[in-house]
């Protein structure tokens, strides 16, 4: 077991190193530091950004927007997903709405939302709209997967609703929900930053990306991009840790 974990880690590092080598070679061959900067200069920009006055503000505001959209989708998606999982009519009713949400180009959503909600709320709304269907679908499947015979057993033994919820409903749906959470967050996060590029809130990673493009500061653009990726990966790792704790029984089998 242990060797396979270290092996996985080795492969992980290897893939990052290969990526860096390709990048370095490309920038060397292209030989235009302004358009395709080398990894070193991007790392230097990252450090410079870290020391800049607004860095924390920019990061926190975008994180806040990302989380706001995500939490909204988590709450509304879980409730509607559960409801649809229990009631077939609710599912049928929501299906067209879901397909509309899923197939609307998110650029149209962002542009409309800019007109309706203004620049601060648009990234939240956009993030919510892409992650909501994922949470909803997973929760729907999770609710469907609940073993009804266990609920029957609990009823015969006179277990109250609260304990059925806590000891049967949550553990049954948790694996589905966590699978949804991981992908909903990473997609929602990307779209939130994307929406910021268009909506230009005062402090935002998206706004910073846009500005560095305007001033053709490609190394800063890449530096922000890498920060965006790093944050997303960190949160994904964090979600995995919580998941492992929450559904420990699955890992012990």
């Amino acid at each position: 077991m242990k060797t396979s974990i270290t092996e996985n880690k080795n492969i992980y590092f290897l893939s990052i190193i290969v990526l860096l080598i390709i990048w370095k070679t490309a920038s060397f061959a292209y030989n235009n530091e302004a358009l395709l900067p080398s990894p070193e200069s991007v790392i230097i920009s990252m450090i410079n950004l870290l020391q800049s006055a607004d860095f924390i503000k920019v990061l926190c505001f975008t994180l806040l927007r990302g989380f706001a959209g995500f939490i909204l989708s988590l709450i509304i998606g879980s409730i509607l997903g559960t409801w649809a999982g229990i009631n077939l009519y609710v599912e049928k009713f929501l299906t067209p709405l879901l397909s509309v949400i899923k197939s609307t180009p998110f650029m149209s959503v962002i542009l409309l939302s800019l007109l309706w909600l203004g620049s601060e709320k648009t990234p939240i709304f956009a993030g919510f709209l892409v992650s909501f269907p994922i949470i909803y679908t997973n929760m729907l499947q999770g609710t469907r997967s609940i073993d009804k015979s266990l609920i029957e057993m609990a009823r015969v033994y006179g277990i109250d609703r609260l304990h059925i919820l806590k000891d049967i409903f949550f553990p049954s749906t948790a694996p589905f929900l966590f699978a949804g959470i991981a992908s909903a967050f990473s997609i929602g996060w990307k779209v939130t930053v994307g929406a910021e590029v268009l909506s230009q809130p005062k402090y935002a990673i998206g706004t910073s990306l846009w500005e560095s493009k305007i001033f053709i500061e490609v190394e800063i653009l890449l530096a922000w991009t890498i920060y965006t990726i790093l944050i997303s990966s960190l949160i994904e790792i964090f979600i995995k840790i919580i998941e492992k704790k929450a559904i420990r029984w699955k890992h012990e089998i």
């Binding site: 015979s149 029957e152 009823r155 015969v156 109250d160 000891d167």
Partner: protein, 241 residues
Amino acid sequence: MKSDLSIIDLNKSFKELKVFQNLSLQIPLNKITCILGPSGCGKTTLLNILCGIEKADSGILNDFSVLTFSYVFQDARLLPWKTVKENLDFVLKNKYAPSERYGRIEKYLDMVDLQDFKDYYPNKLSGGMKQRVSIARAFAFPSDMLIMDEPFKGLDVKTKKNIIQKFLELWNIDKRTVIFVTHDIEECLMIAEKIIVFSQLPARVLYEDTLNITHNERDMENEQISKIAEHINKIFFQTGY
């Protein structure tokens, strides 16, 4: 002195399918009543009606509504995310204080020889062990009636014998009213104090008998038992089972 439980003129159908048509039964208190019949003869439906999972169309159930039930299902129905110990605790939570629960769990797991496995998750146990947990859970729960729906189906002969033994040990200490449903004549004759044989649908009582032989004297060589077995076999043969 409390009287027997009775089911009078029970009717139940699923759409066109009549399961029970004016079925009447007597269930003696603190005895093991075994309902024997072919599969699909409405045995599980009857149990579900008795413990309130399903509703009868009409009929008098006198008086099941005041009873509390333990249920041993065909499948063990343990929560896979809880250990053996926690599975027992799950049903005892609303009934006892934590310290008392602990003692009860220890006691009943001990009685089914699963003390060493109390921290195991169900997926690590064999079918027979899971069913033993299910039986321990049923006895640990303070019910008036114990319902068993083909609890030994799918177990090999040796495991089955062992579990029946464990069940009878538990029952002899704590004589609850038991309704035991099976399609296996031998199983029925090893356990039952009252035997009720069901026909195919709509279920009627084909045969009723009481067995007054103590459990440890029972085997298929016993004269009374082999006689009853022969008789039931004959009934099944005549009705085409």
